[in-house]
Symmetry: C2
Subunit: 354 residues, 2 copies
């Protein structure tokens, strides 16, 4: 093999919604790749995918497919990660996993590079990419925490259907068409494909994302709560979440209420802090009706923050509105940024040279 | 004139979205009417409206149109109320006003009958119907306050376009069609008809309802904050709101976080309290995926509450999800319930007998 520049990357789940975004984002960022292995279930194996003008045939994922791989990006569901991540690590790859399989494992760093890149030093082969809703929130909250301290977070989400995969996008479009044309329809994907009941999403709002746990919170809500504490390294931070699915294709929005530690902080202080925050774009000019919206954030890499207000009754309380593309910063982009951080920190061994 | 049973009702704004719902609801509840005057702007005058099988011609609103009227229901915008409400009162009518014109006037009771019917005794001719988002929230919070005390409320809303009138409903439908058919469109109604900028609502989320005030809150958010304190007679209650418009036709949803006064209250206590609350229907069985949704609440009279959870980090914190038809309990129905309460309490003089 010629000494091409870059790393041997494997993408597990290459044909899925996030896998496709990963490929687009790798191209766009010109990630240093010398070899690209596209892996999938047996069902999708054999499909052809074009990457930088070259046709690559998708292979069925088997343990041996990870031989020689430097970095493996997993986004094919938790059970696939549980089955194959350790096989990849055993063969010397670093796995960046985009599922919830390992996120709360204390041995596994859970990373948003703008927030806790240093946690990568403690990795044992697997690094977890957080939940989409968590990523965009902690990107905005970390700089506030650093400047003013943080005591409490209450978030209500407005989440796009693309977070539930390509089938959910199709369901939204087909149902919307059916309703506008006065035709019958029969929901089968949302809120959760495997759940007993499915509900209309077109022109509706579903306050359930993922399954329910015994305490009445959904798993999505618990992910936001627990992952936020882990990423921000604040086990005692008070965090609560209500996660809601909307008839929006791409772009998660969040209404976030926080209580900080310092007194006498003003809206302009928070705005100035976010103006200089990495990965964050401030969109906050009420007089010009400038605030973030998913239709405008889709396809963009940043986390957009606006509607920042000081609570009228609580001296340390603030409100804000956070929007980001759930497939980009919420998934594909953050995954690739983790890989870039690993390279920057010298934490990836390039097998070509080893 | 024959001694027919009932009252002489006038409806100001009879041809609007709320006016139409008022007429439907009066029919449905068999409200005691001996004479019905339908009033509107000059533009809509002359239209014919069928009520209980009879055709009524809409008249242009002039002060003299209120002669002999017992109860006048206003829902034609704040400036119309400011112009005509006192004219109606001067002629002996009781005005129930569905605009924001008089809501925060200390002389004017602001009433949700399940919550503060007793406030009607203090009326001086005008009674205000609260903002739609406020009504459904206080209907659920009042029984909780009575049982456990209430210290803090943080609400994020998910509001339907019908709250912005018939033009907004048309805009949502036309835009949705345009996007599905890959056609151009040009927003002109939402978020605020008279604002400088208009944004896409189809498959999008707009975090602006009504104009902005100088403190960064919108007028809709300030309505929720101030009206909640007035209706619940809790000037020191901490209330904050973030109000958001969604691509939903009818039915407002609210993600509500509260802190109560009592310790050691459990989710089951809150559920039992709401199970017996007037005007409230509990829809809260996570194991059966039972929770309120706007598509199912539209056309129904009750306020639906579900997703009740105890906060995991705050002993007195609870979360809930409140949904109601914004045109019914949020507007037309509550207006008529106020009229019914006035009659029940003997506060309306029937001019036929006076």
């Amino acid at each position: 093999m010629s000494k091409l520049q870059g790393y041997h990357l494997a993408i597990m789940g290459a044909t899925g919604a996030v896998g496709q975004q990963i490929l687009k984002t790798l191209e766009k960022r010109d990630f240093p790749i010398r070899k690209l292995s596209l892996l999938s279930s047996a069902r999708s194996a054999g499909k052809e995918i074009t990457f930088k003008g070259q046709t690559i045939i998708v292979e069925e994922a088997v343990p041996e497919a990870f031989e020689g791989v430097d970095i493996a990006l997993f986004s094919a569901g938790g059970s696939i990660s549980e089955k194959f991540a350790h096989e990849a690590v055993k063969r010397g790859a670093i796995v960046i996993d985009n599922t919830s399989a390992f996120r709360m494992n204390p041995e596994v760093p859970l990373v948003v590079p703008e927030v806790n890149e240093q946690a990568l030093h403690g990795h044992n082969g697997i690094i977890a990419n957080p939940n989409c809703s968590t990523i965009q929130m902690v990107a905005a909250l970390e700089p506030i925490k650093k400047a003013y301290g943080l005591q409490k977070v209450v978030v209500s989400t407005y989440q796009a259907v693309s977070g539930a995969g390509a089938a959910a996008i199709n369901e939204l479009e087909e149902q919307t068409n059916a309703i506008l044309n006065n035709e019958d329809f029969s929901p089968s994907v949302l809120p959760v494909g495997s759940a007993d009941k499915h509900y209309q999403i077109a022109f509706n709002v579903i306050p359930q994302i993922d399954q329910f746990s015994d305490n009445g919170f959904t798993l999505e809500e618990l992910k936001m709560i627990n992952e936020t504490k882990k990423i921000m390294e604040m086990p005692d931070l008070k965090v609560a979440a209500t996660c809601v699915r909307l008839p929006v294709e791409t772009g998660h929005s969040e209404s976030v209420y926080i209580e900080i530690e310092k007194d006498h902080v003003e809206v302009e202080d928070i705005k100035n802090t976010l103006l200089n925050a990495p990965g964050v774009t401030l969109q906050d000019k009420p007089t010009e009706q400038l605030y973030p919206m998913p239709a405008m954030a889709a396809g963009k890499e940043d986390v957009f923050v606006g509607r920042i207000r000081k609570d009228l009754d609580e001296e340390t309380g603030f409100h804000m509105w956070i929007v980001s593309d759930n497939l980009l910063k919420g998934a594909a982009l953050n995954t690739i940024q983790i890989a870039e951080s690993l390279i920057k920190l010298g934490l990836v061994s390039n097998k070509q040279y080893s």
